[in-house]
Assembly symmetry: C2
Homo-oligomer: 394 residues x 2
């Protein structure tokens, strides 16, 4: 495996060209993307367009249909953007200042004045805007936008941009493959370290250490090492100081972020022998994952893949433990669209990347997930890891 694959600068520029082409086709003047450091969803568009990961302060990316893009941010991030992305046009706006802070040497402007200047420099009207990340935009910023453009001129184009993001390039596939490589090494380190008396957090430490040394930037979703009925019961878990005991079910969910992209693996492990109910659930979940994998190929409508997995779980009487639709894409967000729900009618396409996550939670014995990654090729779903879903008893 080549060490440290990256997305080349040209590809980021190409993505911006695609956004500009979309604006022109849809008679929009400006693209606005909001991004922040929310752990799962926050950085997506800043990373996708400029390889920039906001931290501490949010940002807005403005791409006019004609002319140079600009990133708007707070007073502590302008040099951070210059140092870590290829953007050479950053402006600090008052809307992203930290209340109670004082910046004696910062040049601070406002969204309104940036748009005014853009209108002047480009010598054209900028009134119709397409927005992504809308759901996350804080209300004060949204109101400032509304005052400038008029709410009727602000169009949510998330769905169309998600479609652009859904088909991965060769570079993206290479980066995601490496993220899964890291995830697998992390998972293996976690499994090796499971022993009676070890705490969940110590096991997470081993997984994260292994991944960090291989180049992981952090996590797309917090590392889950959950053990016993109480801690494995919910879909999400906080990794605690609880010590693993004999007979415990230990649920591992490992999702490193690498160059802004993700790998995600979920695996339950038993210290000892599983109860009959746990063994049956594991067997059904593995079978469901295989069924979804077999269905996951170009041309298959998304809901058919969902059905393939659910059918197996229904036969095993486990359907009510499937708490969310878990066959989802993986990219600059660990859990991104398209999500293959029973309502998803579009077809799976070549070079999409899916996580087939089979979740069984809120059961009397706790919960588990088998989660693995697949690259959709013309020949079907290609696994992005070498580990197989299986019943592991330590």
């Amino acid at each position: 495996m080549q060490q440290y694959p990256v997305i080349p600068k040209e590809e980021f520029i190409d993505r911006q060209q695609k956004v500009k082409a979309f604006l022109k086709e849809n008679a929009l003047d400006l693209f606005i993307a909001y991004a922040d450091d929310k752990a799962v969803y926050g950085p997506a568009y800043a990373r996708w367009l400029f390889n920039y990961a906001p931290h501490f302060e949010p940002c807005c990316i403005l791409i006019p249909a004609e002319g140079e893009a600009v990133i708007l941010t707070g007073p502590e991030s302008d040099q951070f953007i210059y140092a870590t992305s290829h953007c050479r046009n950053v402006k600090v706006i008052n809307e992203f200042s930290h209340p109670g802070e004082e910046y004696l040497f910062a040049q601070v402007t406002t969204l309104e004045s940036v748009i005014g200047q853009m209108r002047k420099e480009l010598d054209r009207d900028i009134s119709k805007v397409g927005i992504v990340g809308l759901e996350m935009i804080p209300h004060l910023l949204y109101e400032a936008m509304g005052a400038i453009f008029g709410p009727g001129n602000m169009v949510d184009i998330e769905y169309q941009m998600l479609k652009l993001r859904a088909i991965k390039s060769e570079n993206e596939i290479r980066v995601i493959e490496y993220a899964y490589f890291i995830a697998e090494k992390g998972l293996q380190a976690a499994i090796r370290s499971i022993a009676e008396g070890k705490s969940e957090r110590e096991i997470a430490a081993e997984a994260e250490y292994t991944m960090r040394r291989l180049g992981s930037e952090g996590m797309g979703i917090d590392t889950i090492v959950a053990s016993g009925v109480h801690n494995t019961y919910p879909v999400l878990a906080r990794t605690t100081h609880r010590k693993i005991g004999q007979g415990d079910l230990v649920l591992l969910t490992i999702a490193p972020r690498y160059e802004g992209y993700h790998g995600a693996l979920g695996m339950p492990v038993i210290l000892g022998k599983p109860d009959k109910a746990v063994e049956e659930a594991m067997t059904a979940a593995i079978e469901a994952q295989h069924a979804a994998k077999d269905a996951l190929r170009p041309g298959t409508p998304g809901h058919v893949v969902d059905r393939a997995a659910r059918q197996v779980l229904e036969k095993a009487g486990l359907q009510s433990h499937v708490q969310y639709s878990a066959i989802h894409s993986v990219g600059v967000i660990e859990f991104e669209a398209p999500i293959l729900t029973s309502a998803y009618r579009d077809e799976v396409q070549e070079n999409m990347v899916f996580s087939i996550d089979i979740p069984l939670f809120s059961a009397p014995w706790g919960g588990l997930r088998f989660e693995n990654g697949f690259h959709v090729t013309k020949d079907g779903a290609r696994p992005l890891q070498t580990v197989q879903p299986e019943i592991i008893c330590l």
Copy 2:
């Protein structure tokens, strides 16, 4: 050092009582706190009131002046809240659902219906609300609140609640002390691992591994291992694959989160001998930190502490490199109010906890910070670490 100090459940309940008392004193009917998984600011109020750290989905905490509190969240978090906090009243609302997802077995309500039910059960009007986390509230949620309460009835009480949070209890001091203990061990592990040819990310791996094994949950601000002029130049940095070279300035910023609280240490290290300019900057920053520490005692107006540090830096001709006001409180946010700016007139009080961060950035030679933590006692500022700010040459 006692292992694993925690905030006892009674203290969380006591905090809610204080919020209720505040509501009554101010003729408010309901307290609303928004929280999410933004890396630095997101979880603050959920952690402070319910020991709950939202992840993946946001939440809103509603505390009526009389009656039981409720946490509103998305369909994947209700059992997560029950498993990790003492809250026993969680409702899933549509406003926090994930678009494109499908929850076949979830019971989902709306903010409006929750408030309607609360009015009925408590048999009283709920119209005047005090809000915190307002700055972060997504606009759709804010509009839903506005439609229910009327914008004129929504009062921002962030400032008053920050005042409540600013004075730390004995339990909080113990937890923060432990966070600094972890931070110090992490810092030392990082320093030990610095060597020619080691990458920034490998050094971060050593710091984080050490801290995770000691109980850290994650980071209050991303671990910074920045080296060389380009990477140390900005206030924030992304820890990269860059390999440390002879003569490099290496900036470490280590801020673990432990039980929702933080420690934060910043230390520059030189591999070799420092340039004259770097040595002068280091000497001035250390002197500035000592000056601020000496000024930091109960009764001193905040701006006096800021002045003490700035005066030293001005004398050294370095004032324009101080890019932000960096003497700030530490608690459930790594960088929280009060921030001792030149405009901060209130007095420092006993049992506040401050980080004295002396930042010098955007210099021709790059940037650095000396950051250490102090507990304000009646006798002055008590260091929360044993490491001293000093010029370290490896």
